[in-house]
């Protein structure tokens, strides 16, 4: 038996399967758009509401030409990325504070539960009045929607770190902050990363709803505007752009995951 040859075969098989997976993924994508186009041009579906890929493409070219799409997209993207980073960062810091003081965490426990179960987007109007109808209230919304759940999930991860790691550190006379840095935080990286992944989606929700409410700029505004003037080409174009950028953000987080968690 030739181990090398078997290994080559094994690798070839994996590659082959990968190619088929890619093929079918592409097939679904292409047939979705083709079907959409055909259904629309043969009037199986209402063109006014469901538009058609060709029309969206046309609109895309127009909106790129007059620069408005790039303007609105960059506006939304900036808010989302910032809201996402703020939400996760503040969540992690709050979790660290709770870990630091078990007493405080006991005191705050019911409030966290209440805040977590409350629909944060309902705070939108208040935020807009308080912070003004601009970027800052939208970013706050993007952050607010994820911060409490991040705090709860990350704090739980901090607490469930195997106490024997802390014992090892304690025998080296480590301070509490050293314990946090050497054991608690790195042991919780996998949880923090999966929180990041959830927060990508949440931040988009917060920002788009915020833009609905403020209604002056961004993809959320384009959707609301398109809806009001009954231009569903615009609504669907904005949706596609959101889908693409949300996916890219998710991929960036996965890249970060590979970088951070090298030991696994």
């Amino acid at each position: 038996m030739n181990i090398n040859k078997l290994h080559e075969e094994y690798k070839a098989n994996i590659r082959k399967e990968k190619r088929w997976v890619r093929f079918y993924q592409l097939l679904i994508l292409v047939s979705f758009f083709v079907l959409w186009e055909v259904a629309s041009s043969l009037r199986w579906i209402d063109q006014l509401i469901f538009s058609a890929p060709s029309k969206i493409g046309q609109l895309f070219v127009e909106k790129i030409a007059d620069n408005s799409l790039i303007y609105h997209t960059s506006y939304t993207l900036f808010e989302t990325v910032l809201g996402f980073i703020l939400g996760t960062l503040v969540g992690t810091i709050l979790a660290a504070i709770l870990w630091w003081s078990p007493f405080l965490s006991k005191v705050l426990d019911p409030y966290l539960v209440v805040l977590n179960s409350m629909p944060k987007v309902a705070l939108g109007p208040i935020l807009i009045v308080a912070l003004g109808p601009g970027m800052s209230s939208i970013i706050t919304m993007g952050a607010l929607i994820s911060v409490i759940i991040s705090t709860i999930v990350i704090y739980t991860a901090f607490r469930t770190v195997d106490s024997n790691y802390l014992k090892v550190l304690q025998t080296f006379r480590a301070s509490r902050s050293q314990m946090f840095k050497e054991a608690i935080l790195p042991a919780s990286f996998p949880t923090i990363i999966s929180t990041l992944k959830v927060n990508v989606g949440l931040a988009w929700v917060g920002v788009i709803v915020g833009e609905f409410l403020v209604s002056s700029q961004g993809l959320g505004y384009l959707i609301i505007y398109g809806f009001q003037v009954f231009n569903f080409n615009l609504v669907l174009l904005s949706l596609l752009v959101i889908a693409i950028f949300a996916t890219i953000m998710y991929q960036v987080v996965e890249l970060l995951e590979k970088k951070l968690i090298k030991s696994e």
Partner: protein
């Protein structure tokens, strides 16, 4: 010369429902450079006593002193504590694991790394500094944990069943290694074990504890001729089996008392 003294130590674990008395009136002393073992039925408080010796928490009552100083009050005192599992940090390389204690004490990085390489050699490992713990076998990981413990040059080594998770062969090899290193470095060591043979083969003195609450029941001196030998050789010596029989009977007696 007395190195460590335990006087009138009691320990009780409290929870909202129960109070578990784990140790009662423990008095013992350990000499400089001596190797002693704690044996006793499961749940008799060996780990509790070891944790108290390590200064992880204070006893409910009583005093533990090393070189006449209270261990809880002496912040510079370095104690090596090795747990049943290696508890190497999976996200750190072997080198970072071994130098962890030195890093916390703010030692120079390069000197620490040099020491790590030397210690890894001493514990019989090939150069694995840049690897991660998951790439090593159980026996190798326990060796790394030993190197990590020795890196801070502790005054005393506390070993809580450090070999029990290993296969028999690795266990025998590591016993020899630890025994040799302790004698070489002249360190005082306390070993907790379930294995009477291991206790006899490795130590100078054996403390037998009785259960619920844990008390010091009896102390055995290991004969001079066994102490001179390596643990592996000692296991083959004739006085080994006679001492084994004696301790075995005592332990049996203790467990009978418990069940009846």
């Amino acid at each position: 010369m007395t190195f460590l003294s335990v006087s009138n130590v009691h320990h009780t674990y409290f929870s909202s429902k129960t109070a578990t008395e784990a140790l009662s009136d423990i008095n013992l002393t350990i000499d400089q450079g001596e190797f002693v073992s704690f044996i006793g039925p499961s749940g008799c408080g060996k780990t509790t006593l070891l944790s108290i010796l390590a200064g992880l928490f204070p006893p409910t009552a009583g005093k533990v002193q090393i070189e006449e100083q209270d261990i809880m009050k002496n912040a510079d005192l370095s104690i090596g504590y090795m747990l049943q599992q290696d508890y190497l940090f999976p996200w750190k390389t072997i080198e970072e694991n071994v130098t962890l204690g030195l890093k916390l004490l703010n030692n120079n990085r390069e000197a620490s790394n040099e020491l790590a390489s030397k210690l890894l050699k001493d514990v019989g490992l090939p150069p694995v500094e840049k690897k991660y713990p998951r790439e090593l076998s159980g026996g190798m990981r326990q060796r790394v944990a030993l190197a990590r413990t020795l890196a801070v040059d502790p005054k005393i080594l506390l070993l809580d069943e450090p070999f029990s998770a290993l296969d028999y062969q690795s266990k025998l090899k590591l016993e020899d290694l630890v025994h040799k290193l302790m004698k070489e470095y002249g360190k005082t060591a306390v070993l907790v074990t379930h294995d009477i043979g291991e206790a006899i083969a490795m130590s100078d003195r054996i403390f037998l504890f009785s259960a619920r609450p844990g008390r010091l029941y009896q102390t055995f001196e290991v004969p001079e001729e066994l102490r001179r030998l390596t643990p592996f050789e000692a296991r083959a010596h004739s006085s080994y089996s006679s001492l084994f029989q004696i301790i075995w009977k005592e332990l049996e007696g203790l467990e009978h008392q418990q069940t009846s």
